[in-house]
Symmetry: C2
Subunit: 190 residues, 2 copies
């Protein structure tokens, strides 16, 4: 597996295919995911959106989208993380988050925020973040819809931490085994 | 005073002038404020940004920018609220927030979120929101910068509430007198 950071126009379809393949996202959500690809293609780094695409045997099997939150010194938002079903047990979600953290560290470090839902079906997602060293920073009741809270996870990433703990291929020591990543079709929000 | 909801190209300069006149915002912040005007002018309602401009004697003296948070059923974000200095003691901030709440109510109601800073100089802003019936929903330490927390306020607005309590010209009963609004140069973030 290797990571790619530069987008090409064909990634519009690839990202949509990944997001739709999860069966987890609405059409509106898939549209938003592609919109961020368009923004990046149109404006480059000035868009504020960074991408990490995971490729296995020439196929793009997952991706993450993140960026510095405008008007903050060093807060980053992990907007999207999605992995093709069937690839989800290979630790791809962990590897992608590890690559996001390394990239943030290379930018000088900061806090990474990841939003997810408080619904029962997202329990594996919350477990995933907890295992990756993220702590719950806030919970906004009924944010997405009645009964659907927003849960905000946060992790501080420093340059030193990253260099020490996250060599390529050795992402996230202490993270549990793959079994819990079966549902890392995590939804994020702009 | 009357409210205007439709933008015209000249509002780019008007919004920048209002934001800069407060002396409270950085250039990057002013740029973001104008960017949202551009988005609205280019894409209309599809931009997701709604505006309320307050006009007194033909002069635009303050404005609010808000919108439904993408992928939520009925959560709204109050992105910007700014009032020209010298106009700030006239209850304009309260009137603008009241108009935003009436608009949200007319869209079916929902929760309005307003982000601000936890720094000491924003204490009047936090007092302002509390007086307007907003409650602190979250606090994210060091979000904007070291020592500069993000504080999230939230208020639920229902159709009934709005009709009962917020007739035009009778905004926000129970809100204290103007004296505390001297510093309603509130910053919001996209």
């Amino acid at each position: 597996m290797h990571f790619r950071h530069d987008l090409v126009p064909d990634d519009r379809d690839r990202v949509r295919a990944i997001v739709e393949s999860t069966g987890f996202f609405s059409e509106e959500e898939a549209d938003v995911a592609v919109e961020l690809v368009d923004e990046r293609l149109a404006k480059g780094a000035a868009s504020g959106y960074e991408f990490v695409l995971a490729e296995v045997d020439g196929e793009t099997v997952g991706y993450a989208c993140f960026g510095r939150v405008p008007l903050t010194q060093s807060s980053f938002d992990l907007y999207w993380l999605a992995v093709r079903p069937g690839k989800q047990r290979g630790g791809l979600g962990r590897a992608l988050v590890g690559e996001v953290e390394r990239t943030v560290a290379s930018l000088g470090g900061g806090r990474i925020y990841a939003d997810t839902s408080g619904r029962r079906q997202y329990a594996p997602t919350r477990t995933f973040y907890t295992a990756m060293g993220y702590a719950q920073a806030a919970r906004l009741p009924d944010f997405f819809a009645p009964g659907d809270d927003k849960v905000v996870f946060a992790k501080e990433v420093t340059v030193q931490q990253s260099l020490g703990q996250m060599a390529p291929g050795d992402c996230c020591p202490g993270a549990p085994t793959d079994s819990y990543v079966q549902d890392d079709r995590i939804r994020f929000f702009k």
